[in-house]
């Protein structure tokens, strides 16, 4: 009980005193996971919409694969990304192992199927006649897609939240491809594990609380946007 209290006090202290190390770790977490989420948003929504709107052979198989990907274990992604980008791997020439870029790639791979799966379901959930209606009003195919995406913006925002929540709290891939290098690839989750290993439980609790606050703040802001649009 004492320890938890100490952790909370320490967290408060670290936040209000703008501890430079904690700030930089938090900022890095935000940058890496934010970028990864944005990438996954572009890829996920476009592929998700394309699959939802087109009928082709093997569509159910593709959807099953995407849905499986939504539960892709981060350590599996971490392992494969590591193998791809280490010096002797096929993408070794890029020399990006143990850099923030590698972490962005790994996290984007984790988040993309989540965004893809949710946006696919969102588009499929729209009334099928809506498409015909839009087209009959003289819209081009691209305009039709744009209207559909706009129509499903609520679940799409949920997809962003799910994707971001998945990668900001993820550790397996981050520690494998990032390496937890101080001031460079050390993010909130990897720092928490390391401080636990060092026996600095108060600092670990503090970092964990900051992580929770960060996730909450992002989701709160996104929810604000989502709900405001709904009530309109």
């Amino acid at each position: 009980m004492d320890l938890i209290l100490q952790g909370i006090i320490k967290a408060f202290h670290l936040i209000v005193s703008f501890d430079p190390e904690v700030i930089s770790i938090t900022w890095l977490s935000l940058k890496i996971s934010g970028t990864a989420t944005l990438i996954s948003l572009f890829v996920g929504v476009s592929v998700g919409v394309a699959v939802a709107l087109n009928d082709f052979f093997g569509k159910r198989l593709v959807i099953s694969i995407i849905n499986t990907g939504m539960g892709l274990p981060p350590v599996v992604v971490g392992l494969f990304v590591t193998i791809m980008i280490w010096r002797s791997g096929p993408f070794g020439f890029l020399e990006i192992l143990y850099t923030p870029y590698a972490m962005i790639i790994a996290q984007a791979v984790i988040a993309t199927p989540i965004v893809m799966g949710i946006s696919l379901a969102a588009i499929q959930n729209l009334p099928p006649n809506l498409r015909l209606q839009i087209l009959s009003l003289g819209a081009s195919r691209l305009q039709m897609v744009w209207v559909l995406v706009k129509e499903s913006r609520l679940p799409l925002l949920a997809a962003v939240m799910a994707g971001f929540g998945g990668v900001i709290s993820e550790i397996g891939a981050s520690i494998m491809v990032g390496g937890n290098i101080k001031g460079y690839t050390r993010v909130l989750t990897t720092a928490t594990v390391m401080e636990t290993g060092k026996g600095n439980f108060d600092l670990a609790i503090a970092l964990a609380i900051i992580l929770l606050l960060l996730a909450f703040t992002i989701n709160f802001l996104l929810t604000q946007i989502q709900q405001r649009q709904q009530s309109r």
Partner: protein, 286 residues
């Protein structure tokens, strides 16, 4: 205005994307990066947090420290995925150099291993002089022994000790493996009230939070020796040989050795590591 409202959102996304990308700076070119693989004990004790910033300031290199068990560290070196290694698994290191993967193996520092356990000490090993004898007693009492189980230097040492005690602990009910680093393993041991082999540095660094006591120490078998090795760049052309050499040279330099000798004195009353650069392994502990 109509067009703007249509492209507004993607535009904002693109702007944010560019912002995020630009905010991630590349730390120099490849030639300035060094990948150092080292053991969890040097990171968990905090020693590297003191040494590496100094090295970076002195030379302008950027060190990517990857803290893993000595076993994994050497596996990475073997594949040329690392440039320089700071490890403590002498037998495996010798083999590593003989097989041509590593060059320039140099002694850096030592501390010692200790056997730690709960204060009530159900296996009654406190004060036993020989570490193998102590392990025998633990086995006889069927007291819980927690192993790192991760092919780290500490794990290698532990296996040597079991061999000396002529006991095969694998699969025994009282023998558990964590597969974690030293710090985390000590936390597990403290929680389960078991025994384990630990390096003194990590134990001292964690002592304030874990109720474990040093039960066996001082045995010559328990010496813990750290060497620095450069990965052979003839075998792996991508290895940053110059950077590896610079780091190894720094570790044996007078400046680094002095810092190692003083590290931990303020906090723990005694140093966590003893600098030994330039000495012979055979002369240690005498």
């Amino acid at each position: 205005m109509k067009i703007w409202s249509n492209i507004k959102r993607p535009f904002i996304f693109a702007a944010a994307f560019l912002f995020f990308i630009s905010a991630c700076d590349l730390n120099g070119s490849g030639q300035k990066n060094i990948i150092l693989v080292t053991t969890t004990s040097t990171q968990d004790s905090g020693l590297l947090d003191v040494l590496i910033p100094l090295f970076e300031k002195n030379t302008g290199y950027f060190v990517k420290t990857i803290a893993v068990g000595s076993g994994q560290a050497m596996a990475m070196g073997q594949k040329g995925e690392a440039d320089v290694m700071l490890v403590h698994s002498p037998e495996a290191e010798k083999k590593f150099v003989e097989e041509g993967y590593g060059v320039n193996r140099r002694l850096i520092m030592r501390n010692d291993f200790i056997i730690v356990g709960p204060a009530d000490d159900s296996a009654k090993i406190k004060g036993v002089k020989s570490s193998a004898e102590a392990l025998k007693k633990i086995a006889e009492a069927c007291a819980l022994f927690v192993s790192r189980g991760d092919y780290s230097g500490t794990h290698a040492k532990e296996k040597t000790l079991w061999k000396q005690a002529e006991i095969n602990p694998d699969g025994q009910r009282w023998y558990q493996e964590t597969g974690l680093g030293m710090g985390q393993t000590l936390n597990v041991v403290a929680e389960k009230k078991g025994y384990t082999l630990a390096d003194r540095g990590t134990y001292l660094a964690l002592k304030k939070t874990i109720p474990l006591e040093i039960l066996v120490e001082g045995d010559a078998m328990l010496l813990n020796i750290y060497h620095v090795m450069e990965v052979n760049s003839k075998m792996w052309p991508k290895v940053n040989a110059a950077g590896a050499r610079a780091f190894a040279d720094f570790m044996v330099s007078k400046q680094a050795q002095e810092i190692i000798g003083k590290f931990g004195v303020d906090e723990f009353g005694s140093p966590l590591f003893f600098p030994n650069a330039g000495k012979k392994v055979e002369d240690l502990g005498k």
